[in-house]
Each structure stands twice: as structure tokens, then as C-alpha cells.
Amino acid sequence: MADEKQSLFGAVIEGAAGLAGSYAATLTHLFRKPVTEQYPEYKRPMPTRTRGRIILTRSPDGNERCVACYLCSGACPVNCISMQSEEGENGRRQAAWFRINFARCIYCGLCEEACPTLALQLTPEFAFCKDDIADFVYEKEQLLVDHGGKHPDYDFYAHAGIAAGTPKGSHIDEDEPVDVKSIMP
């Protein structure tokens, strides 16, 4: 097309059509509803798996899920999670204190993947601002929530084979403990 010698008249017509086309395109845009979302007034519902602020969830019975295994802390590429583990009255392991420095957190979600008890979860909440950078250091009380997050029905202790609080054999999908001293089948 470009190699063919165009007549002057044809070139003028083509150029004018091109100009008119672009003017027409913008004119139609003028009467379209703007696609902008007015952010503070309208907050777009974020997907549930959006990686935002980190929470510590509870199991359905209201106990803390976190067993202070340090896996999240080890997985964290920026070392923003720190904790101290201890043993509770019922024999459960838990965090004596649990601290996340959100000023350092990169919201990569590796901690969530590392968490064996689904305690640590990332929420879609992404806009939380502070005047003081020290306020970004969240303690366990600020991290703990009263729900199960993305997995409300999951209860680590109900599945696991350990006897912490509940007797052996009372967990989901768990057989009665075998009495090794009995010879009965």
C-alpha cells in the first residue's frame, strides 16, 4: 500500500479522514461514563486472596490457632516477624508475644504459605496508614482477630494426632488408640 504512488487528492482525502476519525473517537469518549473509581467514597471489593494486612485467626472453638512454630518467621524474606513460644495451661503451645513490623513487611504471603495451622493469614485490607513509623509494629493483641479468616471451619487441634486438651482418639478421622496390652482384635 505504502509503496504505491498515491495521488495528491487521495492523500488529502485519506489524511482528512484520518483526522476526522480521531476527532470522532475522542468525541464519543466524551459522552461515555468515566471508568474511574472514586476511591475513598467507593472502595472496590478486593478478591479474598489479596495480600494485605496480616492477622492471627482463631479456630471455631475460639482458641488461638497459632502454635508459635517459627515457620512464618523463618519464611519471611525481610525478617519482619518475631515471636516467643511458650506452653499454655492446657498443654498447647502458643506465642508469648508475637510481633510483625508492617513497615518492613513486603506482603509477599510466604508466611501464610508456611503456616501449618492456617493461623496466620493475609487480609484484603491494604490501606492502613500511620503518622509514626513505630506504630507499624503490631503486637499480638493487635494481630489477633475473633474469627477464622478464610478458613472459618478449620480446627488444627481437632485434626491433629496430639493430645493437647482433648483425649487421644477424639480427633476427626482418628482411630481409637490401640491398646497394645490387649490381645483382642
Binding site: 476527532y23 475522542t26 469518549h29 466524551l30 461515555r32 461514563k33 468515566p34 471508568v35
Partner: protein, 330 residues
């Protein structure tokens, strides 16, 4: 005698104040209009946070610019660097003194022409002022000691010289029909048909050349953002930077006023009062310029020069010739 003189001076001062306020106010809101309209052309809202519909945005912008630090880089020629933005804005504002806003009024037995300066070389004076504005651009660019600025300044100077010619030539048919260089006479000559109808080619040529003179897209080579950062005003900050923009937007309003006067019949129009007609015409042109900015891509530099010298100037000359022939035949 002295009373007459004092009244004359007072009226003149009032007219200057009104023209200055209108020009600057319109320029400030032209920025808002451009941002709003450009936003809607791109299917988004423009600024809408400061005041209702963002109506206080110009105020906020001006305040911000005033409070910003005025940086003067090392190694610049201070005197030229400081004066250059004022030249751009000043020349644009000066040209407003020539724009007639209406017929001569009679107030308390005194004839008060609704124009600050009525001169029989008004059209040429407009061209002279618009050609002087390039000094602010070129000198500001040269003294910034920055290669992007320098390139922008060189482009600006070359572009202004090239399109000045087409601009002047496209106005010759208007002068031939109006038989005067006086802006008020030119408007008076359009009480019947506006020159946009009788001289459509001159109208189109003038708009294209004027687009290049005001350095608007698609001819914004001196400040081509993607190639030259900000071109000639790269090194400017604070209110000096804002002055360049005041100059640009005052120029837009001025262009609207000039097109209204030269081609759209000034304040002439049915039903509505004359000043309303003038306002509509003056504002229609910037809206078209913004529409153009939303629609067209920037020209390449050699295309710009070729368009100016190989297309616009010959067409304008032919147009002068044809108009002359028609006028002689009629």
C-alpha cells in the same frame, strides 16, 4: 480639560483592570477546563477534589506554586533566567489590550470604546507581540544550561519563525476583505457573514498556524515530554514555572479572542447580547484546542517544518491570490 484627561485616565485604568482580571481568571480556569475536558476525553474524571467539581483547583495550584522553592540552578545567566518567564506571560497579556470587547458605549455623554488601545495597525501589533514571546522561550531555554532545554528552545525558535509567516499570510485575506488593520473595523466588517464562512481556507490555515504559535499539541515540539523532559522549562520551578503556564493559557484565551475577532464575527450574533456572543466564541476555540490535544499525536520535527514551509505558506499565498481575484471580480 484636565477633568477630561483624568476621566480618560480613570476609564483606561478600569478597562485595563477588567481586561487583566478577565484574562488571568479565564487563564486560571482554562487550566481546570483543560484538565476536566481532557479527563472526560480519556474516559476519566478530571480534578474533582478541591471544591465542587474541583472549582477551587486553580486556587490550590496557584498557592502550591507560590509556596514552592524557586530554584535557580548553578551556572545560569541569572538576569536572563529570572526575566524569561515574565516575557512569555507579559507578551500574552499585552496582546489583550488590542482585543475589542464590543461596540463603543456612551456613558454619561462620554464615548467609551470597549477596547483598551484602538490603533490602525492592531493586527500587525498582535503579530509583533506574538513574535516577541519567543524570546522568553528561547532565552529561558538557552540560559538553563541544559541540553534538553536548549533543544526545546532551538525547536521553539525555529517553529515560531516558520509559522509566523503562515500566520501573517493567512490573515491577509481578512485584511483585504475588511480593508483595515484595525481590529474593531475587522469585527465591524463581519456584521453580515463572519469571515470563517467567506474565507474558510484562511480560517483553517490560521487555526493550524496559531496552534503551532501557541505550542499546543500536535505542535508542542519545544516541550515534547517524551523526548525532552519538559523542553524549555525543564529547569524552572515554583512560580517561574507557573508563569510559563500562565503565558500558555493566556495565549489560549487570546487565541480564542483573536479567532473570534478575525473569523467568527466578534460580538455579532442574533438574540443574545453581544458580550455573551463574544464569550461563547472566545471559549469555543480553547475547547476545540483541548479536543485537538486529546485527539492528535505530536508531529515529527521534519514533518512540522515541511508542513509549515511546503504546505501552509504556499497555500496561504494562493489563498491571498484567489481572494484578490474574487474581490477584483466582484
Amino acid at each position: 480639560m484636565t477633568v477630561e484627561l483624568l476621566i480618560g485616565a480613570g476609564v483606561m485604568l478600569v478597562k485595563m483592570a477588567v481586561a487583566l482580571a478577565v484574562a488571568l481568571g479565564l487563564a486560571a480556569y482554562m487550566i481546570l477546563l483543560e484538565r476536566k475536558l481532557l479527563g472526560r476525553f480519556q474516559v476519566r474524571y478530571g480534578p474533582n477534589r478541591v471544591g465542587y467539581f474541583g472549582l477551587l483547583q486553580p486556587l490550590a495550584d496557584g498557592l502550591k506554586m507560590l509556596l514552592k522553592e524557586d530554584i535557580i540552578p548553578d551556572g545560569v545567566d541569572r538576569r536572563i533566567f529570572l526575566v524569561a518567564p515574565a516575557v512569555v506571560a507579559g507578551m500574552a497579556l499585552l496582546a489583550f489590550m488590542l482585543v475589542p470587547f464590543g461596540e463603543t458605549l456612551t456613558i454619561l455623554g462620554h464615548a467609551v470604546p470597549q477596547v483598551i488601545v484602538r490603533t490602525n495597525v492592531g493586527l500587525l501589533l498582535v503579530l509583533a507581540l506574538s513574535s516577541l514571546a519567543v524570546y522568553g522561550l528561547a532565552l529561558g531555554a538557552w540560559t538553563s544550561d541544559n541540553k534538553y532545554s536548549l533543544l526545546g528552545g532551538i525547536r521553539g525558535a525555529a517553529q515560531m519563525i516558520s509559522y509566523e509567516l503562515a500566520l501573517g499570510l493567512s490573515l491577509v485575506p481578512v485584511v483585504m476583505r475588511a480593508r483595515s488593520l484595525d481590529l474593531s473595523d475587522i469585527v465591524a466588517a463581519q456584521s453580515g457573514l463572519p469571515f470563517a464562512v467567506t474565507e474558510p481556507f484562511a480560517f483553517i490555515l490560521f487555526i493550524i498556524a496559531a496552534l503551532a504559535e501557541t505550542k499546543r499539541i500536535p505542535f508542542d515540539l519545544p516541550e515534547a515530554e517524551n523526548e525532552l523532559q519538559a523542553g524549555f522549562h525543564t529547569e524552572y520551578s515554583g512560580m517561574r514555572f507557573a508563569l510559563f503556564f500562565v503565558g500558555e493559557y493566556v495565549n489560549m484565551v487570546l487565541l480564542g479572542a483573536l479567532i473570534a475577532v478575525f473569523f467568527l464575527g466578534g460580538w455579532h450574533g442574533p438574540v443574545l447580547p453581544p458580550i455573551v456572543w463574544l464569550g461563547i466564541k472566545v471559549l469555543a476555540v480553547p475547547v476545540f484546542l483541548i479536543w485537538t490535544r486529546a485527539s492528535l499525536p505530536r508531529l515529527r520535527y521534519d514533518q512540522l517544518m515541511a508542513l509549515g514551509w511546503k504546505v501552509l505558506v504556499p497555500l496561504a499565498l494562493v489563498n491571498v491570490l484567489v481572494t484578490g481575484a474574487i474581490l477584483v471580480a466582484a
